[in-house]
């Protein structure tokens, strides 16, 4: 997973950010994950320029139920491949959460986070401890690092890598 | 000396006697546009005229991608709806089930009438010749200019006379005849000309078959194509003519033709146009067994009731072996096919029965090919990339041949399938 300390700018989103807002159905036919980041958040009002302006290491911060809607894994790829190291949200929709874990993509459940950050705030995340710091205000909150099976899958870098590592051991 | 159809119609429209080669300016009786009414309306605004010359002469029929598959197509339709409202255009067929493919709608609703001069911003506008109209396709700018001025110039065309006699053998239809003619004279064989169909076989043909013949006039380069306005035509238009300006006009016996051809239907067999040109003719027997990925029955060329019935005759009680898309050319046809049980047969055979429109014909809507795929189609063009993918292959054929091929999963001779 590389360095477990992440530093970047926060992009703050609201509650119930659905998969059409993250990655619109118009681009579902794309199969190569590397092509997906250019469409990230294209339909999110006020953040249409996300894909053009985001910098490597920037972090997505969101409210409750992030990624609700479709099962499209594109909604994970478009952030992961776009250099977003982690998504922090009050809560995640079920399928989005799975898809992230299956790709070894860190998503932290961080209650209270949406009120602690504004767009552009410098943010530091320790993926090992789950500690999240707003470097501007100095406020700290705790994000749930994933547990058990999810953690193990993530430690392997994703579900398919996990399966390979466990081949024949089940 | 006698006059050709084109000379007589254009003479009547100008009020003077005219001959081939002369440039004339006429006021068209109807101007048809489909989804391209939107870009045309933009050009029209650029000209700077506020109102079209005569809103009752404009007919708009949406068909290219309906209902809209993307934001962009939806936006295009919206521009047209607003223009229709703004200009008070009464002859407007939206995506709803009173319409269908523009040329089919123009004919079945009574716009295509004997002796009228009609232009359309679509190359297959020549179809209306089946009803004795002088009709031809023009580009967007020219259409915008016509809306603005009510006038369009034509060079009075030379004419070609194609006489057809005899009767079709089993499994053979008008599409096979016209594919053969195109193969013989090539795709520029009638460049700039007015093609007249004559003979007993034309008189025996249904209006639908005549539409198939005239529809493909453009694929020989013709300006227009036309059949005699006989009783079949007059009976058909009796209660539905949308203009009273029509008049039965036909060529004089002693008219002068640039070219004359004769065909005996007894010599016509099921045929195809092979990729990638319409004149790449071959009898079905020579391409039999060519593997296909998709079959398509529909379009302004062969999406009429008689075409669906021909296909149903082949498919009845059987299952297609490849994906088969059937798109009736209009809702009126769909409706009739439904009442006659044709739709049931096609559904039971496993066909996709899509809503009327142009479908995949020009690569805009349902049924686009993937690279390397081959489609046999009743449409009118098999150009490289026509159905949305430049690495794909299109064979053009009659509804019976397409249906027979759908059953076998390879190009097949309908005579071997029809009992």
């Amino acid at each position: 997973m590389g360095s477990s300390i992440i530093k970047g700018r926060a992009w703050v989103f609201g509650d119930d950010v659905d998969t059409d807002l993250i990655y619109h159905n118009k681009y579902l036919a794309v199969t190569d994950p590397a092509e997906m980041p250019q469409y990230a958040f294209e339909y999110y009002p006020g953040k249409e320029n996300f894909a053009r302006e985001v910098q490597n290491g920037d972090v997505v911060v969101a409210g409750t139920n992030f990624g609700c809607g479709s099962s499209r894994e594109h909604a994970v790829y478009c952030l992961k491949e776009g250099g977003i190291p982690v998504v922090l949200a009050e809560s995640f929709s079920r399928i989005y959460y799975r898809n992230a874990v299956n790709n070894g993509y860190p998503v932290l459940v961080a209650p209270g986070i949406s009120s602690k950050f504004k767009d552009g705030d410098e943010i530091e995340v320790n993926l090992d401890t789950g500690e999240i710091t707003n470097l501007k205000s100095g406020e700290k909150i705790h994000g749930d690092a994933v547990t058990d099976l999810e953690k193990e899958i993530m430690a392997h870098g994703g579900l398919l890598q996990y399966i390979k590592a466990h081949a024949g051991k089940e | 000396m006698g006059k050709t159809f084109a000379e007589k119609v254009l003479g009547k429209a100008t009020g003077n006697e005219v001959s081939a080669g002369q440039i004339v300016t006429v006021e068209p009786h109807f101007c048809m546009s489909h989804d391209n009414a939107a870009p045309i309306s933009k050009i029209f605004r650029d000209i700077g005229v506020n109102k079209v010359w005569d809103s009752s002469k404009l007919v708009f029929i949406l068909d290219h991608a309906i209902p809209a598959p993307t934001d962009k197509h939806a936006q295009n339709h919206k521009v047209i709806r607003e223009f229709v409202k703004d200009q008070g255009i009464e002859h407007f067929y939206d995506i709803m089930s009173n319409g269908g493919v523009c040329h089919q709608v123009m004919c079945e609703k009574g716009y295509a009438l004997p002796g009228l001069v009609m232009v359309g911003s679509d190359s297959h506008t020549c179809t209306y010749g089946a009803f004795g109209a002088f009709s031809t396709g023009i580009g967007r700018t020219e259409m915008a200019a016509t809306w603005a001025t009510g006038k369009i110039w034509f060079k009075v065309p030379d004419s070609m006379k194609i006489s057809v006699n005899g009767t079709f053998s089993r499994g053979v239809s008008a599409k096979d005849l016209i594919l053969r003619i195109m193969g013989d004279i090539q795709s520029d064989g009638a460049d700039y000309m007015s093609v007249e169909f004559h003979g007993k076989a034309i008189a025996d043909m249904s209006l639908g078959s005549r539409m198939t013949l005239c529809n493909l006039g453009i694929e020989m380069g013709a300006k227009n194509a036309v059949c005699p306005p006989d009783d079949k035509v007059l009976n058909f238009i009796k209660d539905k003519a949308k203009s009273d300006k029509w008049e039965s006009i036909w060529a004089d016996e002693d008219a002068c033709y640039e070219k004359a051809l004769e065909y005996d239907l007894a010599n016509i067999e099921p045929g195809v146009a092979k990729p990638h040109t319409v004149d790449n003719y071959s009898p079905v027997t020579e391409v039999k067994g060519t593997s296909i990925d998709q079959a398509f029955i529909g379009t302004c060329t062969n999406g009429r009731l008689q075409d669906l019935e021909e296909a149903a005759k082949v498919l009845s009680g059987k299952r297609v072996a490849v994906r088969t898309i059937v798109i009736p050319a209009s809702w009126e046809i769909y409706r009739k096919a439904m009442s006659k049980g044709v739709i049931d047969i096609l559904l039971d055979a496993g066909c996709v029965l899509a809503n009327p429109g142009c479908g995949p014909c020009m690569g805009n809507h349902e049924g686009i090919l993937a690279p390397g795929e081959t489609c046999i189609s009743t449409a009118n063009r098999n150009f490289k990339g026509r159905m949305g993918n430049k690495e794909s292959f299109i064979y053009l054929a009659s509804p019976a041949t397409v249906a027979a091929s759908a059953l076998k999963g390879e190009i097949a001779d309908p005579r071997e399938v029809l009992v």
Binding site: - | N36, D46, I47, G120, G139, D191, N364
Partner: protein, 165 residues
Amino acid sequence: MKVKGKVWKYGDDVNTDVIFPGKYTYTVLDPAEMGKYALEDLDPEFARKAQPGDVIVAGKNWGCGSSREQAATCLTSLKVGAVVAKSFARIFYRNAINQGLPVIQSPAAVDSIEAGEQIEIDFENGLIRTDQGKEFAFAPIPEYVRGILQDGGLVEHIRKSLGLE
């Protein structure tokens, strides 16, 4: 009125789907953008490399098929100087003129001019000259047509005739 440029040579029956694919007809709306797709399925080099003034030299029946005007617009968008062909499909011929794109019929020129040659077209004198010194005369463009070409296309021509300038 003169045009000077490099020759791009193509064969017979080049149809409108090849010149401008149907799938773009409702998704590419800006004339300036249409040039990008010109001849995409026939010669992908063309749209990338054609220079203003370049001339297309082609066989018979250039532009057969659909009435789509984009087949002419995509060429004017690249500032193609003219199309010289053995013959033209009817609708393309009209569309080209209406867009202000000169179209010249000259079977003799087509037979002897090769791809890559530099040529000059002199419309007033009805002459095509190659850098090899070959010359081909062509029938002068009809007056009505010349009027449209001189005004830069049908829209401007009509505006002028309606006194809307």
